[in-house]
Structure formats: structure tokens, C-alpha cells
């Protein structure tokens, strides 16, 4: 009886030792993997930081200004900004934006758009840049 207990306990101890060894082996492996990922993460962060600095350097305002002509860009002027209430009769413009379905005598269906009587024109106000 005693011998049976001893054998069972020994087997259990050996199994437990094996399990602990496996667990430790896996933990060490995972730890190494974690360290590798952390190192890579740190490295990627620095790479990202370098790219951000590169971008910030490349979009310097003086550099963009030099390329503005090639890109067809013009400086903003106050003439390009207007107050909403300065824009003609807004109701008419809104009406013009809503097409009305009309059936012609011929039976054809067309969209009718109303032309505003007065619309805002930058050129007419002499404010074109």
C-alpha cells in the first residue's frame, strides 16, 4: 500500500516537474518574444519620429511658397472672403438650386431651373484679386 502511494507520488512529482519545465520554457520563450516586440516597437517609434521630422522639414512654409507657383496656388486675399448677407438675394439662389420637374406640351419631362434676378458677383463689385 505504502509502495503504491510512493510510486503515485513520484509519478505526480515527475509529471509536475515536467509541466513546470514546459511552463518555464514557454514563459522564457514568450518573454523573449515580448522583448523582441518591445525592441521593434521602440525602433518603429523612432522611425515614425524620423518620418514626422522629415515631413515637418519638407512642408516648411518657405519651401511650399517656392513651389506655390508651380502648383498654381495664389496667396489668399480679403477679396475672396464675403459675408453671407452680402450675397445677393439668397432665397433666389436657393430657389435656383432646386430644379422643378415640368412636362412640356410635347410630353417630354424636363427639369426647370429658375434664374435668379440678382446674384452676387465678385467681379461686379470690383473685388476680384
Amino acid at each position: 500500500m505504502m509502495l503504491r502511494y510512493v510510486i503515485t507520488a513520484t509519478v505526480l512529482v515527475v509529471l509536475a516537474a515536467g509541466a513546470v519545465f514546459q511552463l518555464k520554457y514557454k514563459v522564457v520563450g514568450l518573454e523573449r518574444e515580448r522583448m523582441a516586440i518591445e525592441t521593434q516597437l521602440r525602433s518603429e517609434r523612432w522611425t515614425l519620429q524620423t518620418r514626422k521630422a522629415d515631413l515637418a522639414y519638407l512642408v516648411r512654409p518657405d519651401r511650399l511658397a517656392l513651389q506655390a507657383a508651380q502648383l498654381g496656388m495664389r496667396p489668399a486675399t480679403s477679396a475672396l472672403i464675403v459675408n453671407v448677407d452680402q450675397i445677393g438675394d439668397r432665397q433666389q439662389i436657393e430657389l435656383a438650386n432646386n430644379p422643378v420637374a415640368v412636362t412640356l406640351p410635347s410630353g417630354a419631362a424636363v427639369e426647370l431651373r429658375l434664374k435668379p434676378v440678382q446674384i452676387f458677383s465678385l467681379a461686379a463689385r470690383g473685388r476680384t484679386p
Binding site: 522583448m35 518591445e38 525592441t39 521602440r42 525602433s43 517609434r45 523612432w46 519620429q49 524620423t50 514626422k52 521630422a53 515631413l55 515637418a56 522639414y57 512642408v59 516648411r60 512654409p61 518657405d62 511658397a65 496667396p75 489668399a76 486675399t77 480679403s78 477679396a79 475672396l80 472672403i81 464675403v82 459675408n83 452680402q86 473685388r127
Partner: protein, 580 residues
């Protein structure tokens, strides 16, 4: 014969007992040792390795120790840390030191072969070849493939916008410690000191406006050849500095190449006599005391004699001038008389203290100049201070004070950091709303019909004040001849003030196009005009409504007519006579 011991087993029993005792002691010691290790292990698992011993011991290479980034108000990167390689050598592993040194010196600028040979021969296992090399230099070293030559990485502060924000952002030393500007004053915040985060530090600067001010000021520097220039763009409602430029400037990536002149922050770290710009304060003081109104007039028919000094006007009108005329024509005589009419030295000094001009500017950087105040405040001091001589302040101090006056008399504390719109600003009243409105009208009049007409901008109502001050002679005392500080302060839109722009040129030289004149009206005002014209649309400032000019005209007429006083002439004759 020697007798046998009484109990021969006794010595063996004693030895066994002693051995057991020793074993017990040893067991206790081992148990304590294992217990302490166990407790420490449990502590590290539970507390999560607060001291970072595990990480540190396993990752000696690149811990996250970088400084936080600095950005402008729109998130544009102004300063960041990069990991930069430095070249080192292990002399023991290098087959031919002389040949290696020659090859390295050939591809690495600043490295001399003889010095490197000496260094390598004197070192045993480690010697630096060159600190912080560029990626191209690193590639060239790798290409050489010399055994025993390698790289170590360290953080280096980089400023992608180079000169553009150098005086605000500042720079760091070789150990990455802040030494000037924001880098210096926020060193602990940027390095992640106690309870500090690694979030970027967001400045109030707007890089787009900074570029415009920098570009226009640089153009004026090339044209008028001053020894220095200052440009400040300020939000009068929030106290945020949107742009601060001091020229000449420097590249903070190469501070070692910067001259002392270029490292001076003239906008905050130097004091200047700002001349007629100070008439804003004298006029505000006179109006706010109630002793002077817009309807009053002062005698400017002849120079003002105070003791042995005579005060002149650069353009003598030879007649009595009303307060609006004194301001828009920038009359020294009229302004001095106005200061006396308002009560003289005491109220003048008290007012300058009230608008914070008698103390260092309140800003988050260390480069803040103390004002240079007169030693005695006698009558001639009262007169000269009234038109901006005899008292020197930093340009940013002027901007802070003037902004407080034009913003309906309410001063917002100045800042170089972006404000949180949800946090209310602690405003301080400098002058009454009525005085502030009067000043707005006078500044508008100056740009419409006075000395500031060169600052008119199509689409915007601009107000302003010109300034031309004689430059002090630092060697012999007194003032230099034909050497001035020209300036212009513009506010827009003046009917609802939002931004203040100051341009100051230190010793400009007029060209033929400006009739060789050095006045602020001819040199600085056009620069402000260009800055407002370019920056207004970017900031979304709507153009002034049609008829806004007429409305200002009506308000001025109403202000002039609303005064319940008489002409004021007789009253001020006596005051001025006292001054003489």
C-alpha cells in the same frame, strides 16, 4: 596509568549536538535567504517592477528618454528628438589603425587623421570617432567595412523649421537640456519630470503667420538695412502671441555657428525707446483721467521750452492742434502739453505702472528685458516720456500694454502657450471703455489721414500709430545723429479689434523709393500693411462691411461733438505756462 573517562560516548554526542546546532543555524540562514528572495519576487510580480530593474537590465540600448515635442497651435512640429548614430572604434580589433584613420577622416568632415590615430593608439578598447553623424555619413562608414568600427545611438534635438521660430522655441545643449526660449523655461515639462507627461507642448504661435511676419520683416531688412528688426503678431482678445520674430536669427540645429547678435531676442530681451508709439499711452492716460477730451486743443505754434531743453515737432504745423490732430500728426509738443494737462509726472508714472510698462514683460521665457526707467522724473522727463524718449521697454511689453488698451480697455495676460477656449481668461481693466473707443478712433484716423496712411489695407479697416525714436548712444550718452528706431503698430479690424501687429526696425536706411526717409511711416508701416493683407484671410477675418468707414467717421464726429467742455484752450494755456 591514566584513568578512562567516565562516559566515553559523551564527546561524540557533544560533537553531534554541535553539528546539529550548526546545521539548524545554517538552515535558518538559508531559509531566511530563500524567504527574502521569495518575498522580493512576489513584490516584483505584484508591484509590477516599479523600479524597472528587469527592463533596464535587459534593454540597455534605447530606453524612452526623449524630450516631448513642441508644436505650433495647429500641431505643426517645431522641435522633436531623433535617434542619431555616433561612430566609435575598438582599437584592438582594427587591423591597421593608420589606414583606418585616413579612410574615416576622408568621409567624415571635421575628423583629422593624425588626431584620430593618436586617439586610437592611446585608447585601449573604446574611442569616439565622431558624434552624431548624418545618415549619409553612416552609410559611408558602413561601406568602408572596417572591423572594430561601430555605432552607438543617442537622442538629438532637431528643429525642422530651422530659423523660423528660433527665438521662441530656443535650443538645448549637448546633453539635451533646454538652454533658451521655451526649451529652457519648460525643461522639466519637456523631459517628463515628476507628474509631467510626454504630450507635445503646444505653443500659441501660428506657423503660417510666423512665416508671413518673418518673410516680410526679412524683405524690409534687405531693403532698409537696419541692424535688427522685430515683428510681433498678437491676439488682443486672448493675449496669445501668434508670431514673434527677431532678426537676425539663427538655426537652432547649429547653435555653435550662431553669432551673439543673432542669438539676441530683440522682441523680448532688449529694451528700446519706442518714440511716438508711446503717444498711445499718453493720450489714453490723458483721456482716462478726464482732464483732457477729444475736443480739447493745445498750443503747438512754437517749440516747447522746458528749462534748457526745447521740444520740437518733426513737421511743425505752427498752430494750435486738437487732440485728434496731435495724435494723427504725431506732435511731440502737443503730446507733452497733454501729459502736463493730465497732471504731469505722478499720473504719468502711475499709468505706465498700471499698464505693466514699469516691469519685465510677463511671458513664459527667460529672455525678458527689464525696462530702463528714468532716475529722476522731473518736468523734462514727463515731457520726453510722453512721446517715448527717456524710458526704454521691450517691444513685447509695448504690445501687451497697447493690446490691453485697444481691446475695449481690457488686458488679457500675454502667453506663448495655446489657450484652452473652455478656460475663461482673467481680464484686467486698464482704461475705461470710452477711452478705449476714443483710442480706436484716433488710431483709425492716423491710418486714414495721418502719418500711417501707408498701412491702409484694401478690405480691412486698420488703425495704427507710427513711431520714430532717436537711438541712444551707448558710448557717449545722449542720442546718435541720423540714427533712429522706426516702428509701426497696426490694429485690425479697428472697428472690432482682434489683432495687433508691431514692426520695429533698428537703425533703418531709407532708399530712393521712400525719399531716403527713415520714419516709421515710410519703413515700418508698409511692412505691417503687407502682413495684415496676407494674414487676415488666413485667419478668417472677414473684410470690413461696406460703409464701415462712414460709420467710424460718424462715431468720431459724435465723439468730438459730444464733449460738454468748452474749447479747453484757456484752461491749458495756464498748464503749459507752468510747464515752461
Amino acid at each position: 596509568m591514566q584513568p578512562l573517562p567516565a562516559n566515553p560516548a559523551r564527546p561524540a554526542d557533544a560533537a553531534i549536538a554541535a553539528g546539529r546546532r550548526r546545521l539548524k543555524v545554517l538552515s535558518v540562514i538559508f531559509a531566511l535567504a530563500f524567504l527574502s528572495i521569495g518575498i522580493r519576487l512576489v513584490d516584483m510580480v505584484v508591484s509590477g517592477d516599479q523600479h524597472g530593474l528587469l527592463v533596464k537590465s535587459r534593454n540597455p540600448a534605447t530606453p524612452e528618454t526623449r524630450r516631448a515635442d513642441i508644436t505650433d497651435r495647429n500641431g505643426e512640429l517645431l522641435a522633436t528628438d531623433l535617434l542619431v548614430p555616433s561612430v566609435y572604434a575598438d582599437p584592438l580589433l582594427i587591423p591597421d589603425i593608420g589606414e583606418a584613420a585616413r579612410e574615416l577622416a576622408r568621409i567624415l568632415p571635421g575628423v583629422a587623421a593624425p588626431a584620430l590615430v593618436k586617439k586610437l593608439e592611446e585608447s585601449k578598447r573604446f574611442a569616439w570617432v565622431k558624434h552624431q553623424v548624418t545618415p549619409m555619413e553612416q552609410a559611408a562608414v558602413l561601406e568602408l567595412g572596417i572591423p572594430g568600427v561601430g555605432f552607438r545611438y543617442s537622442e538629438q534635438r532637431v528643429y525642422p523649421k530651422q530659423n523660423l521660430t528660433s527665438h521662441v522655441v530656443g535650443f538645448v545643449d549637448g546633453d539635451n537640456h533646454g538652454r533658451a526660449g521655451i526649451e529652457g523655461s519648460f525643461n522639466e515639462r519637456l523631459t517628463g519630470g515628476p507628474r509631467q507627461g510626454k504630450d507635445p507642448l503646444v505653443l500659441s504661435l501660428d506657423l503660417r503667420i510666423q512665416q508671413i511676419v518673418h518673410e516680410e520683416l526679412a524683405t524690409a531688412m534687405r531693403r532698409f538695412r537696419p541692424i535688427g528688426g522685430v515683428g510681433i503678431f498678437y491676439d488682443v482678445r486672448t493675449g496669445e502671441v501668434l508670431s514673434l520674430v527677431s532678426l537676425p536669427d539663427f538655426d537652432p540645429n547649429h547653435v555653435e555657428e550662431a553669432t551673439k547678435q543673432s542669438q539676441w531676442n530683440r522682441a523680448t530681451g532688449n529694451s528700446f525707446e519706442l518714440g511716438s508709439l508711446f503717444k498711445i499711452f499718453t493720450t489714453a492716460m490723458a483721456l482716462d483721467t478726464g482732464q483732457v477730451s477729444l475736443k480739447d486743443s493745445f498750443d503747438a505754434t512754437a517749440p516747447l521750452q522746458i528749462g534748457r531743453y526745447r521740444i520740437h515737432d518733426s513737421h511743425n504745423e505752427g498752430r494750435w492742434l486738437s487732440v485728434p490732430e496731435i495724435f494723427m500728426l504725431s506732435s511731440n509738443i502737443g503730446t507733452a502739453r497733454m501729459a502736463f494737462a493730465a497732471g504731469g509726472a505722478d499720473p504719468e508714472r502711475a499709468f505706465l505702472e498700471k499698464v505693466h510698462l514699469m516691469a519685465r514683460p510677463e511671458l513664459e521665457i527667460a529672455e525678458r528685458a527689464k525696462p530702463q526707467l528714468p532716475r529722476r522724473w522731473v518736468d523734462i522727463t514727463t515731457a520726453t516720456v510722453a512721446f517715448g524718449h527717456g524710458l526704454a521697454v521691450a517691444p513685447i511689453s509695448f504690445v501687451e500694454a497697447a493690446a490691453g488698451i485697444v481691446n475695449d480697455g481690457m488686458r488679457a495676460p500675454p502667453t506663448l502657450l495655446k489657450r484652452d477656449p473652455a478656460v475663461p481668461i482673467q481680464l484686467e481693466r486698464l482704461v475705461s471703455e470710452k477711452t478705449a473707443k476714443d483710442l480706436q478712433l484716433l488710431m483709425w484716423l492716423t491710418v486714414q489721414k495721418g502719418t500711417g496712411t501707408h498701412a491702409q489695407v484694401p478690405g480691412y479697416l486698420v488703425g495704427g500709430k507710427t513711431g520714430t525714436a532717436d537711438r541712444a548712444d551707448p558710448v557717449r550718452g545722449g542720442y546718435l545723429r541720423n540714427s533712429v528706431i522706426s516702428s509701426f503698430a497696426g490694429v485690425f479690424p479697428i472697428d472690432d479689434p482682434h489683432y495687433l501687429v508691431l514692426i520695429m526696425l533698428d537703425d533703418p536706411h531709407g532708399d530712393a523709393a521712400v525719399h531716403n526717409l527713415r520714419y516709421g511711416a515710410w519703413t515700418a508701416a508698409p511692412v505691417v500693411r503687407e502682413i495684415i493683407a496676407r494674414s487676415g484671410p488666413i485667419l478668417g477675418v472677414p473684410p470690413s462691411r461696406p460703409g464701415a468707414d462712414a460709420a467710424m467717421q460718424d462715431e468720431l464726429a459724435q465723439a468730438l461733438g459730444a464733449s460738454a467742455r468748452g474749447t479747453g484752450k484757456d484752461r491749458h494755456v495756464a498748464t503749459v505756462a507752468n510747464a515752461q
